[in-house]
């Protein structure tokens, strides 16, 4: 069964329709790269998956559970939307770290707040917090920042900040982790370290969607590639299919332009 299924997703802002019926499916453990020119709706798609925007139309299913269905729009309480969000994680282009907290706290804060809702929280508080702390440290180690545990975001380079943001998203163990151009706010010499971390996260039980302009990365890491144009999936296939043998004229034109620049 597909871990994620998106069907006919539509979204307009005022008069402009940004998503015009996007659909795709993913298997568990897959890495999907979404490429496409500026304004084609990639960010909007990720924001819809993370419930930062409400689609006008469409269905989103995770593991067989329908999270969103425009035909069956029961009024969603804030609490319900929060629960649905936790299926997804999102790493922003601009990091959005919390400036007043250390690296460790940035990573552990949301997990701690969530743990308060556990029924055994009061009884086992200190043990739960200890567990959260050690798993946060472990995750920070995995993105290579053990030395920076107590640093504040302003003391880190852009690449390091983005790695903290990735650790922060990982800490909640989302089923599907989304990245919105994770390296495009970085100096070229810093993109490598972030891409390396993302590549290292690839595993059989972690599903990832990466919106990116790094074609080399998409080609090497993604199991599947989607080329979006004008609010629609213009082309879809394995990395090899899309990069080596694109069928659509628009995809070809996009690659030609990309090589030129």
């Amino acid at each position: 069964m597909a871990i994620l299924e998106v069907r006919d997703l539509k979204k307009s802002f005022g008069d402009t329709q940004v998503l015009k019926g996007v659909g795709f499916a993913m298997e568990k453990g897959e890495v999907l790269a979404i490429i496409g020119s500026s304004g084609s709706g990639k960010t909007t798609l990720l924001r819809c998956l993370n419930f930062l925007e409400t689609p006008d139309c469409g269905i989103i299913t995770v593991n067989g559970e329908t999270l969103f269905d425009s035909d069956n729009r029961s009024p969603h309480s804030e609490g319900e939307i929060r629960k649905k969000r936790l299926h997804f994680g999102l790493v922003f282009q601009s990091f959005n770290l919390f400036p007043q907290y250390t690296v460790l706290k940035n990573v552990s804060l949301a997990v701690e707040l969530l743990a308060r809702e556990r029924s055994d929280y009061k009884q086992n508080k200190s043990e739960i917090l200890r567990e959260i702390d050690s798993s946060a440290r472990e995750i920070i180690g995995r993105v290579g920042l053990s030395e920076k545990m107590d640093a504040y975001p302003f003391q880190l380079s852009g690449g390091q900040q983005q790695r903290v943001a990735i650790a922060r998203a990982l800490a909640l163990k989302p089923e599907i982790l989304c990245f919105d151009e994770p390296t495009s706010a970085l100096d070229p010499e810093l993109t490598g370290e972030v891409l390396k971390v993302i590549r290292s996260l690839k595993s059989s039980d972690r599903t990832m969607i990466v919106v990116t302009h790094e074609m080399e990365f998409a080609r090497n890491v993604a199991d599947k590639v989607i080329f979006m144009a004008d609010g629609q999936v213009e082309e879809e296939g394995t990395a090899e299919e899309v990069f080596e043998r694109p069928r659509s004229q628009r995809t070809k034109a996009f690659f030609t332009n990309y090589k030129k620049s």
Partner: protein, 223 residues
Amino acid sequence: MSFQTVTRMLLGGFAENGFIFIMTLLMALPLGLVITFGTMSSIRPVKWLTRTFVWIIRGTPLMLQLFVVMYVPGLLFDIQMPDHMLGVQVNPRMYSALIAFVINYAAYISEIYRGGIESIPKGQYEAGQVLGMTKGQIFFKVVLMQVVKRIIPPLGNEIITLVKDTSLARVIAVQEILWIAEEFSARGVIWPLFYTGVYFLVFCGVLTLLFGYIEKKLNYYRG
């Protein structure tokens, strides 16, 4: 008139200024937040009403507001201000003064709060949202500290202005420090009038140091 006597009598007057200062702060700081929520409300009439209110308060002199609070309740509604506060005998005019000061400063402070809240980037809220935080958690755990850091400098400015504004209460015959000093000059002793400046300078100096300290404390992070 000995230096000690003048010092002591001016100090008595300055106690009134200090009283207005403290009471205004205690009430205007929370009331300002209520007004902020009004001006940022998504309910149109609430937003419109509070913004008009803030415009009127900020657009007219505090001195005029003092006169209005002083005379209008009595003239129009035959309301007399009480002559005791918290069980202590006070000049009823102190009530009028406090009402005017609290309303005036709450309006200004509400704009400082609003500026602080609106200056927090949308990405901070969204980061909290995708991490599954509730609205309350986002406000208290993510946004609030950042707002506090940003509003401390303008708030310090406003609070120092309040110290000096308290002397305006003399226009409705609250016997604060300048009132006392003017009584001296009416009797031909002019120097106490200038001497009052020392009181304000010392008080504002202490506040400046205090705010500098808080700003430094909050400087452990940037952004």
